[in-house]
């Protein structure tokens, strides 16, 4: 095991452990905070894989914006503060079975296909901001513009959906 693999294994253990806690804890606010740990550990995994720009973007957008948004939603939907007993549906055994089957299926396929695949982790150039910026603004400039319009549409949609008079009778 090289040093990269050891570090990646530890980060993966953190990410996986906190992900399991996200889906199993009985406290909604703590689930959001464990999600922060998960997303941070995945950003660390990106760093080990030399994708430094993606790691920083992950921290900025996911940890910095998405989790805050989720916490605001937790607050606005009057989620129980403290442990709650009714967060899990009755489907838990079947859900666990489906999850285990999915994991088994994916891991079998991946191990079978990539048993002898090794990456050469040379730092910097492939994952740098310069390389990715060049890719986004040259090769992917059209999807970039479309995503901008998508974000605008999502913003307007969220504003419209959050109006207090939407959904009340007589407002149409």
């Amino acid at each position: 095991m090289t040093a990269y693999e050891v570090v990646f294994s530890l980060l993966g253990a953190i990410a996986l452990g906190s992900a399991v806690l996200v889906v199993s804890t009985s406290n909604v606010v703590r689930a959001a905070l464990w999600l922060v740990v998960t997303l941070g550990a995945i950003a660390g995994c990106y760093l080990v894989l030399t994708a430094e720009f993606v790691a920083v973007v992950q921290l900025l957008i996911y940890v910095g914006a998405v989790v805050v948004l989720l916490l605001f939603a937790v607050m606005f939907t009057r989620a129980p503060i403290g442990p709650a007993t009714d967060l899990d549906s009755r489907n838990r055994p079947i859900a666990a079975l489906v999850a285990l089957a999915t994991a088994g299926l994916l891991i079998t396929l991946l191990v079978d296909a990539f048993r002898h695949a090794y990456t050469d982790l040379t730092a910097g150039a492939p994952g740098s901001a310069e390389a990715l910026g060049g890719a986004v603004f040259r090769t992917y400039v059209l999807p970039f513009e479309v995503v901008s319009v998508l974000l605008l549409a999502a913003l307007i949609g969220a504003i419209v959906l959050s109006r207090p008079d939407v959904g009340t009778p007589g407002s149409r």
Binding site: L35, V54, I61, S89, I94, A95
Partner: protein, 165 residues
């Protein structure tokens, strides 16, 4: 580094996300599980991009776009969850079993004809009973449901035509 490390981690994170999606009742926790699944996919994309040493950086660029679209999706999804909470006062998904709005008695818009049937009144779906009702394309023919029935037969509730007038 062996490629299986990020790939197996991604598969396990995806499976954990699936468990969360199926087992949780709170809608916000569902969105958190969806975020877990999207992160698993991003990890796969980045791992393959680094392995293939892609000149066009397809994997990492697509990861950036997935992060952006996921942020937009979470924003809109939470707006919907908030709206549902405003109307139904719950975000537990197994309590949200009806698509229809709860029965209410709204004030009639002033330009509606007076041929209002007593009983359940759906907002915006008031129609004068009778075959002279103007039918928009795409609606079921009059004989199929109670649209063209006589005044005694039809009530104001239109299960087919729920659109606002």
């Amino acid at each position: 580094m062996h490629l299986l490390f990020p790939l197996v981690l991604s598969a396990l994170l995806f499976a954990v996300g699936i468990y969360g999606l199926l087992a949780r009742r709170n809608a916000v926790l569902l969105l958190m599980s969806v975020e877990l699944m999207l992160n698993a996919v991003n990890l796969d994309l980045v791992a393959f991009d680094v392995w293939l040493r892609d000149n066009l950086h397809n994997g990492q660029t697509l990861t950036l776009f997935v992060i952006t679209v996921a942020a937009a999706e979470v924003g809109l999804g939470l707006a919907i969850v908030l709206q549902v909470f405003r109307v139904r006062a719950t975000v537990a998904i197994d309590e949200l079993v009806e698509l229809a709005e709860p029965d209410t008695q709204p004030a009639l818009p002033p330009d509606q004809p007076a041929a209002v049937q007593p009983g359940a009144v759906q907002p915006g779906a008031v129609r004068p009973a009778g075959p002279a009702t103007a039918r928009r394309p795409g609606l079921a023919p009059a004989g199929a449901v109670t649209l063209g029935a006589g005044p005694a037969g039809s009530d104001g509730a239109e299960p087919v035509d729920g659109a606002p007038s």
